[in-house]
Each structure stands twice: as C-alpha cells, then as structure tokens.
C-alpha cells in the first residue's frame, strides 16, 4: 500500500482572542485508495486539520507530506501548483462559477494546469460528467442546476486533473438524504473502481460509518483511527 498523505506531529494554535491549541500532535498516514472520514464535534479541530492537509492553511508546526513530498514550508505559489495538480476539493457549497457552463466549470482546473490541449480537456471533462451522470447538463449554465446536480458537477471538477486525493469539507452537508446517498455512492465508486483516495470531514454519522476508515477527533486529539 502506498502512502499518499502523511502528517507528523502537527500542532496548531489560534492566537485570537486567546491563545488556544486547536491541534495537538497529530500524526497519521493515509494510503492510496482509502475512503477516510473525519468526524468529531464542532470545535474538535477536524475542519482546521483538513485545511492544513489541503495546504491552504500554512500556519502550523510539524510536517505534512503529500504524495511523498514534504510540502511544509514551501512558498505559496508552489503550494498552489501542488493543489492544482494533486488535490481535488468538494465543499459543503458547490462554489461553481455561475457565469460558466458546467463543462467550463469542470475544465477550469485543467486549463490552469495546462497539461493537455483544450480539446483534450473538453473531452476529459465530458467523460467526468458522464461518470457522474450529468452528460445532459454539460452545456447548461451552472446556476440553472439543482443542488444535488451542482454538487456532482463540483465533484467532476475535483476529478478533472486526476488528483492523488479528493478532500471534502462536509460534502453532503447541504444535501437531502437522497442526494447525500448519491454523493456517497459516487465517492465509494471512485475509491473502489478508480483507486481514488478521499478524505472527507463530515457530521453525517451514517456517511462516516459506511466509509472505509474513520478518524474521530476530540479537543484537537485523534481519539480513534
């Protein structure tokens, strides 16, 4: 099993309004193809941890490795490149660009990466939408879709650069149970069929228990792997 993400002794403090340690000595590994859920009460530090893992939050001590590379201490432009190439994001809200069509939204990260020609990217984006059952909606404007559809487009966008890891911050938090199930099934399918690694922060007990592995957090510590 190959390790795609590894943390070593990550500590993080909030300084405002009072000094407060949010994360205490967090160390764990994530293997390729794992479907990992992070649960815990509000304020347990799970979201904070996710944003550190995402490389967007750089104010912490300890070490973070992604895909075998130490990313702690890299300049922010290099981190942006790493996010672009290796990490896909799904948030509670879809954050699609409303002026663009679904297809264009999916294409944006790949156009930024610039590894393939525009035609190839368009083809790939269409394939991703097909996996998520949205091929009919491809040319519709992103804000014309239903909530569940929009979240699926967001997942397609996260997949476009074939990232090492998909990170989700409450990916089903804003969906009804039917759409939640659809999103979960998509995630599960991605790990089973494509060996995709997924790390998702969730409140949804059901969602967490159906995933491969649970990290439960409390007061900045990992309670159980």
């Amino acid at each position: 099993m190959k390790t795609v993400l590894k943390t070593e002794k990550i500590d993080k403090y909030f300084h405002d309004p009072v000094e407060f340690q949010v994360l205490k000595d967090i160390s764990f590994d994530v293997n390729r193809g794992e479907f990992l859920s992070m649960i815990g009460k509000s304020g347990s530090g799970k979201s904070t941890l996710l944003y550190i893992l995402s490389t967007m939050d750089t104010e912490y001590s300890g070490q973070l490795h992604i895909d075998g590379q130490l990313v702690t201490g890299l300049p922010i432009d290099s981190l942006a490149e790493i996010r672009n190439e290796k990490i896909g994001f799904v948030f509670q809200f879809h954050y699609l660009l409303p002026e663009f069509t679904c297809l264009q939204n999916v294409m944006i990260p790949a156009l930024k990466l610039g590894k393939y020609s525009e035609e190839e990217i368009e083809h790939k984006a269409f394939e991703k939408l097909k996996i998520l059952g949205l091929e009919d909606q491809a040319l519709k404007s992103a804000n014309k879709l239903s909530g569940g559809q929009q979240q699926r487009v967001a997942i397609a966008r996260a997949l476009i650069n074939d990232p090492c890891i998909i990170m989700g911050d409450e990916p089903t938090g804003n969906l009804d149970s039917k759409n939640s199930n659809i999103v979960f099934d998509i995630f599960q399918n991605l790990t089973r069929e494509f060996g995709q690694t997924i790390i998702a922060v969730t409140h949804d007990e059901d969602f967490a228990h159906r995933s491969d592995r649970i990290i439960e957090m409390k007061d900045g510590n990992i309670l159980a792997h």
Partner: protein
Amino acid sequence: MNINYKIAKTYIFSNKKLTAVGVLGVLLGMSVYIFMNSLMVGFDRTSNTTVFKNTAHIRVYKDDEISKPLIKDSIAPYLIINPKIVPKINTIINPKKILQILKNDENVVIATPQVNTNVFYNNGKSQISGTAIGIIPEEANNMFDIKSTMVEGHLDHLIHNPNGIIIGSGVAEKMNLTTGDNINLTSSKGINRTLKIIGIFKTNNYNIDKIKSYINMPLAQQILKEGNTYITDINVKVADPETAEPIAAHLTELTGYNAESWQKSNETIVAAGRMRKIIISFVSFTILLIAGFGIYNILNMTVSQKINDIAILKAMGFKGNDVVRIFVTQAVSIGVMGVIGGVAMATVVITLLKKVYIGGDIGYFPINYESTKYLQGIIIGLVITFFAGYIPAKKAANVDPVEILRR
C-alpha cells in the same frame, strides 16, 4: 486563450451595465482630455502667430547705458554722484560683422537688419505720429510674413520703388488714402519726403495698424541723416520659438549687444499662456483621474461580488498573480474600450468645432488634431486604468481562501 483571460472576459460580459458605466467614464474623460489639450495647443499657436507678426523671435539692439565710473575704487564706489544715460547714438556699430556672426550661428534661421524711425504722416492738414520701419523687404517678409497681412498692393513693389511706402490700414483710413496716393513723411530730424503708397497692410490689431508703416531701409537711414551702416535693430528668427530664451542669452554673449527674446518682450502673453496651460492640464488630468476612480469602484465591486469565485480559484491552484491578471485584464479592457471611444469622440468634437467661426483676427476656432496630445492622453489614460485595476486586484489576490470557504 489563457484561462485567466477567459475568466476576465466572462466577468466583463456578464455584467454589461457595470462595464458600460466604466467605459463611458473613461470615454468622457479621455475625449475631454484630448479636446482640452488640443484646444490649448491651438490657442498657443494662434497667440504666437499674432505675436510673431510684429515681434521677432530675438531682437538684437543697442541698449542705453548708464554712465559708470572709469576707475573702480573700493573705498569710494560712486565717483559719479548723479549717473545719467550716456549720450550715445543707439546704433549697432559695424552691423555687417554682427550680422555675419549671427548668420553663422547654427541656431539662427534668418537675421535681418531694421531701422526704426519715429515720423509724422502728413496729408494736407491732417497729421498722425507713427513709426516707419526701414526693412529689407524680402528678408522682413520671411521674418514677419508681411505678405499675408497685405490687403492692397504688393510687398514686392517696395523692392523696385525706393520711394515707396506700405502703410497700416488705420493710417490709410484716417487720412483717406489708397494705393497710388502720395503721403508726406516728416522725420524726427526734420527731413521731409513725399512717398508713394504702394500697399496697405492690416494685422487686425488696431494699435499697430494706425501707426506702423514699412519703407526701404536706405530711405529710413536718409531721413534720419545717417549713413548706410546705421541700424537700430537686428531681428533674428530661430527654428523653434520656444528655445528663443537660451539662444538670446547666447547671442548676447556672442555679439556684445543686447539680445532680447520674444518671451521677454511679451511677458504678459507668455504668462497668460502659462496660466492657461496649468489650468487646462490640471482640469483635464483630474477628469481622467475621476474616470480612473470609476474603474476602481467597479473593480472593487466585482471583487466583493466574486469573492467566492476568487476563493475557489485559489483553492484549485490559481496563484496570486493569476488573480491579479484576471482583474487587471478586466480593468485594462474597460480602459482600452474607453480610450478608443474617447479618441473617436474627441475627433468628432474637434471636427465640429473646427468649423465654428469666431471672428476677429482668430477666424475659425483655433483647434486641430494634435497627435502628441492624442498619444499623451492614450498613455495617461491607460496608466491610470492599469493602477485603478491593480489596487483592487492586489486586494483580491490577498484573499485567504480558508476564511471564505470555512464559513
């Protein structure tokens, strides 16, 4: 097309109203800037043309001198208690050599001698005091463009008629004279001459037209009882009138005579021109700046509206510079559209105004398509637009995606 530009383009066209307002702001600012500055150039040109019809770029003459003590004594500096103007003739000694020196100077285009004489014009009982100017007709024409002011007769006839005179329209009117009539001249030395009027000029400046006349230089010397080396002024024309001042200083040193630039002899006009320049530059620049504020506002608004887009783009791997490029592209696009519109509008306004008749010695509205002002406006407009976009863009680039996405 690069993805940054694609996003910028989408932002420009997704909010057409906002874009249109920005473009309109730049368009108006731009056209007013070009129009006002072109107008200023036109004004300056007209006022200079008027000045140069009567004033040489540089006038070289012998200035009056105050008598000075012969011996410099540090103990008693004033040996002369009541200094007076030295009773010398105010003429240039050895004018041929001085002329040669002037003509050899690289800055000098034309140098022509002139003899000023105060005279009385007599016709029957009527008498007017005035100034007859002794000239070498061809050279003086190159200098002052006398031919363009002639309303009757021909300047060239003066060359062939040693007893000819060209009088101002004011003199002609007052004395009821036309071409072909005779006029009697009395000089300050009491010499009387009857001359034939071979032409009438009109500068549209009545103060000049009612006193001035042109005669041949030898005649002027004769009525002053002087020889052919008597010259009161040498008029100098230089390539660029704006440089007359330093050249005049140089010529003073070169010839030893007083060389006076037109700026010095027309200080009121020069000062008025300078003031006009300051006001117009200030106002037109302010207007362009306000257009810049318009763009700044629009960009600020776009950044606040698109804060979620910016956060997700940064999460997906867009760098700070990419974000700056998106918004600067938007600002500069608005700027370029406005500049193009502004140039077109300024051209239309100038074209219309050129056809408006003002009257007097100005004639048609003194405005023209000034390419330097166009260029200047375009550059300043684009620079302002760039910064008006850059400041909000920089703010957008510094957005912390975590703060937005964690809500």
